[in-house]
C-alpha cells in the first residue's frame, strides 16, 4: 500500500535545505520541524532477552506496544514522495544484559534476494551515542553523534546461506566460464572483489557478521561503518508483516551505545525501507521525531 505524505507535514519539511553543494561531504545539517512528543517505550525486564529471543516469541506480548507514525523522507534529494510503510510498532524488553527491541510493520512482499535491479527490505534504529543528549534527528550533529543499527533482510539471507556471496546466489542459471579468483587464487584475486576487498561493511567481507549493520554518524551524510560487533538481530516475515528484533548489549562492553542500563532513558528514531518499491538510502519512511525509551529497573 502506498502512502502519501500529509500536506501539513510536507509544508513543514519543505523549508529544510538539501545537502551541501560542494563535492566534499557537506556539513549542512537539515533540520526538520519539531514534532509533538511521542509516547514512551518502556523496556520490561524479563528473564531472558538477547539473541535467543525469536522475533515472534510470545515474550513480547506482555510488553506494551508503541505505534510510531512514519513519513516519507522529503527533506533531502533523492526522495520517494510516496513510501509504502506508514507506521511501525515497537516493543522492548531487557534482561540486564541485552536490550531487545522488537519492531513490526506491514509489508506484503519479502525482498531479500540479491540482484542487479533488486532492493532489500530494511529497518533501522537510531540512538544517541552520548547519554542524555538529543542529537539532530537527521544523523546527529558534530557534538551529538548517533549510532544507526540497520537490520537488512538481504544481509540476513546472505549470512544464513553460509557461503561467501557469489554471482550464482543472484543468478543461479548464469553461465560463467571463468572467475579470476579460480585462476590466480583467492589472495591475488581479492582486489577484483572491489568493495569486499576494502572491507566495505555492506559487502559482508566475512560471514562472522550480524545481520544488523552498525554505523555511526555525526551529521547528515557522515554515516560511516563501525566494524565492531555491537548489535544482533533477526527478522521473520509472516506473509503480511516483518517482525524484526534488534538486540543491543548493555553494560561496559558496549562502547557504541554507552550508558544503556536498567533504569536509564534514551531516545529512538526509526526508518523503514521497502525493497519492493526500490527504497534505499534516503528513499525511505522515517520517524521525524525521537521516541523516548526507558529501561525498567
Amino acid at each position: 500500500m502506498y502512502r502519501t505524505i500529509p500536506m501539513l507535514a510536507l509544508l513543514m519539511l519543505l523549508g529544510a535545505c538539501g545537502p551541501g553543494t560542494t563535492n566534499k561531504p557537506a556539513n549542512s545539517e537539515p533540520t526538520p520541524a519539531p514534532q509533538p512528543a511521542a509516547a514512551l517505550i518502556t523496556a520490561k525486564r524479563v528473564a531472558e532477552a538477547g539473541p535467543a529471543l525469536a522475533p515472534d516469541s510470545g515474550a513480547f506480548d506482555s510488553a506494551p506496544a508503541v505505534t510510531v507514525n512514519l513519513l516519507p523522507q522529503i527533506v533531502v534529494v533523492p526522495m520517494n514522495q510516496k513510501t509504502s510503510v506508514g507506521e511501525i510498532s515497537a516493543r522492548a524488553v531487557h534482561d540486564g544484559k541485552w536490550l531487545t527491541i522488537r519492531l513490526d510493520w506491514a509489508d506484503a512482499t519479502l525482498n531479500d534476494a540479491p540482484g542487479i535491479d533488486k532492493f532489500e527490505d530494511m529497518v533501522a534504529l537510531q540512538l544517541p551515542r552520548k547519554p542524555g543528549s538529543t542529537p539532530n534527528i537527521m544523523m546527529g550533529d558534530a557534538n551529538n553523534p548517533v549510532v544507526v543499527l540497520q537490520w537488512r533482510a538481504g544481509r540476513q539471507a546472505a549470512i544464513d546461506r553460509g557461503e561467501r556471496p557469489e554471482s550464482r546466489h543472484a543468478y543461479p542459471n548464469m553461465n560463467k566460464d571463468i572467475d579470476i579468483a579460480d585462476l590466480v587464487g583467492s589472495e591475488k584475486g581479492s582486489p577484483y572483489r572491489g568493495a569486499m576487498h576494502v572491507n566495505n561493511p555492506v559487502s559482508l567481507p566475512d560471514l562472522d557478521r550480524s545481520p544488523v549493520l552498525a554505523q555511526v554518524a555525526a551529521g547528515y551524510s557522515t554515516l560511516s561503518g563501525y566494524t565492531g560487533r555491537i548489535a544482533e538481530g533477526r527478522g521473520v516475515h509472516n506473509g503480511a508483516r516483518w517482525l524484526v528484533t534488534i538486540h543491543i548489549p548493555l553494560g561496559g562492553d558496549n562502547e557504541m551505545v554507552p550508558g544503556l542500563a536498567p533504569g536509564a532513558k534514551s531516545l529512538l528514531a526509526f526508518a523503514v525501507w521497502d525493497g519492493e518499491f526500490s527504497e534505499r538510502g534516503s528513499r525511505k519512511s522515517w520517524s521525524p521525531n525521537w521516541t523516548p525509551i526507558e529501561l525498567a529497573n
Partner: protein, 375 residues
C-alpha cells in the same frame, strides 16, 4: 542550485555542486570511421578490470552497432524519450539538460535498467537501417547504414553519477578529472546507475556496491594511455589531456582535433554533463541521426574531417592514434613526419605523414615466384 559553465553548451547551467574543474582533464578521442567492432577493447577492459564475481554483466567498455545496438538495452532511446524533444541548433544550447529537467525529488532525469537489459550486449550488431526490398542491391552511396559506437565512461566534467549519489561516495580526481566510486563508502544505493545517462555506472550484486570505469588510472599515473586505447586494432583512439577551449593549445593533439580542427564531438552534449570522450562522427550516416547524437556541429566536423589530408597539422594529430602507448602531451609536424612528446618533453614517437611507396617488380628472381598484390 549553483550555476556552472558548460562550454559544450555555450552557456551556464544548473548543477547540484559548485563547478570545480580539475587541474587537467583526461579525455579520449575516438574515430568512429575506423572502428571495426572487433571488440578487442571490450575484451581487454574486461580481462583487466572486471573478471571478478558480480561483474559478469559489466562492460566498462562496450562497442555497439548504431542504430539498433544498445548496452544496456535501449539506454539512449530511453533517456532521450524522457528528455523530450530539445532544440539543438545554434552555438548556445537553448534546451534543458538532464539536471534542469530533474523531476521533483530527483537530482536529474534517469532510470534504473532491469537486469535483463544487460543480458545482450551485442544486440543489434551489424543491423542496418531499412528493409532491403526485392531486387535491391548494394549501390554506392548505399541506402542502408549502420556504424560502430565504442563507449566508455566519459569522466564527465559535470558527472550526474556524482551529483546523484546521496552518500557522496563518488569523486572527481583533481589531478586528472577521473571519476571514481569510493569502494569503501558506497552502500549500493544505485543512484549513480540510475542517473548516469550513458549507463556507465554498474551495480555489483555480489559486493553490493556500484562500480565504474576507472579510466585505467594506474596507467594514466604512469604516463600511459588506457588499455582500450593501446589495444585498439583499428587505431581509432587517442587518450590524452584536453583543455577548455579558452586554454586550448595548438600543439596538444587532443586540443588540436577537438578545439582547432573541431572534428571530434561529445556524445549527447545536450544532457549537460560535458562528457570527455570525443567522437569523430561517421561520415556516411544521415545527418539528422548524427545531429541528435553529437549536436549541431556535426556537419562542419565531417566536412573538416574529409579535408584532413590537406591539413598537415590535423593529419599529424590523427596519425598519432595507436602509434605509442605513452600519453602525448605535445606534438609537431616537421619534415613530413609527425612527432609526439611525453610529459617530460622527450620524443616518444615519430610517424611519417605519408607511407613511402615502393614499387617492386612482379617477378621475384630470388624466390623464383611471381609477386601478387593482395591488398
Amino acid at each position: 542550485m549553483p550555476k556552472v559553465y558548460n562550454w559544450q553548451l555555450g552557456r551556464e547551467m544548473d548543477y547540484p555542486f559548485a563547478g570545480v574543474r580539475p587541474k587537467r582533464q583526461v579525455a579520449m578521442i575516438m574515430d568512429t570511421n575506423k572502428c571495426i567492432a572487433c571488440q578487442t577493447c571490450t575484451v581487454i577492459c574486461k580481462t583487466t578490470w572486471t573478471p571478478g564475481r558480480g561483474q559478469e554483466h559489466m562492460l566498462w567498455n562496450n562497442v555497439e552497432s548504431k542504430p539498433y545496438g544498445f548496452y544496456p538495452l535501449g539506454w539512449d532511446v530511453k533517456i532521450l524519450e524522457q528528455h523530450g524533444v530539445q532544440p539543438l541548433d545554434g552555438d548556445t544550447y537553448k534546451g534543458k539538460t538532464i539536471f534542469e529537467s530533474a523531476p521533483a525529488g530527483e537530482k536529474a532525469l534517469g532510470y534504473l535498467p532491469a537486469a535483463e537489459d544487460y543480458a545482450h550486449p551485442n544486440i543489434g550488431e551489424d543491423d542496418s537501417l531499412g528493409l532491403m526490398s526485392k531486387g535491391a542491391h548494394l549501390s554506392m552511396e548505399h541506402m542502408q547504414w549502420m556504424f560502430y559506437l565504442p563507449r566508455i565512461c566519459n569522466h564527465c566534467t559535470y558527472p550526474s553519477c556524482l551529483a546523484a549519489c546521496s552518500r557522496q561516495s563518488i569523486y572527481k580526481r583533481p589531478e586528472d578529472g577521473i571519476v571514481l566510486i569510493d569502494q569503501e563508502r558506497c552502500r549500493g544505493y544505485r543512484e549513480c546507475v540510475k542517473n548516469c545517462p550513458y549507463k556507465k555506472a554498474f551495480y555489483n550484486p555480489v559486493t553490493r556496491a556500484s562500480e565504474k570505469c576507472i579510466g585505467c588510472y594506474p596507467k594514466i599515473e604512469a604516463g600511459l594511455q588506457t588499455q582500450c586505447t593501446t589495444s585498439c586494432i583499428g587505431k581509432i583512439r587517442m587518450t590524452g589531456f584536453i583543455s577548455t577551449p579558452d586554454k586550448a593549445r595548438e600543439d596538444n593533439p587532443m586540443d588540436y582535433i577537438v578545439h582547432h580542427a573541431k572534428i571530434a564531438l561529445p556524445l549527447y552534449p545536450q544532457f549537460g554533463l560535458e562528457p570527455n570522450v570525443y567522437y569523430i562522427p561517421p561520415v556516411h550516416v544521415p545527418p539528422p541521426f548524427l545531429h541528435q547524437m553529437f549536436g549541431a556541429k556535426t556537419g562542419a566536423a565531417i566536412k573538416a574531417y574529409r579535408a584532413a589530408a590537406k591539413d598537415e597539422k590535423l593529419l599529424g594529430a590523427l596519425l598519432l592514434f595507436g602509434a605509442t602507448e605513452r600519453i602525448i602531451h605535445r606534438y609537431k609536424v616537421e619534415g613530413g613526419e609527425t612527432i609526439g612528446y611525453d610529459d617530460t618533453d622527450a620524443e616518444v614517437v615519430r610517424v611519417p605523414l605519408r607511407e613511402p611507396v615502393k614499387i617492386r617488380p612482379v617477378w621475384d628472381a630470388k624466390h623464383g615466384a611471381y609477386r601478387t598484390n593482395v591488398t
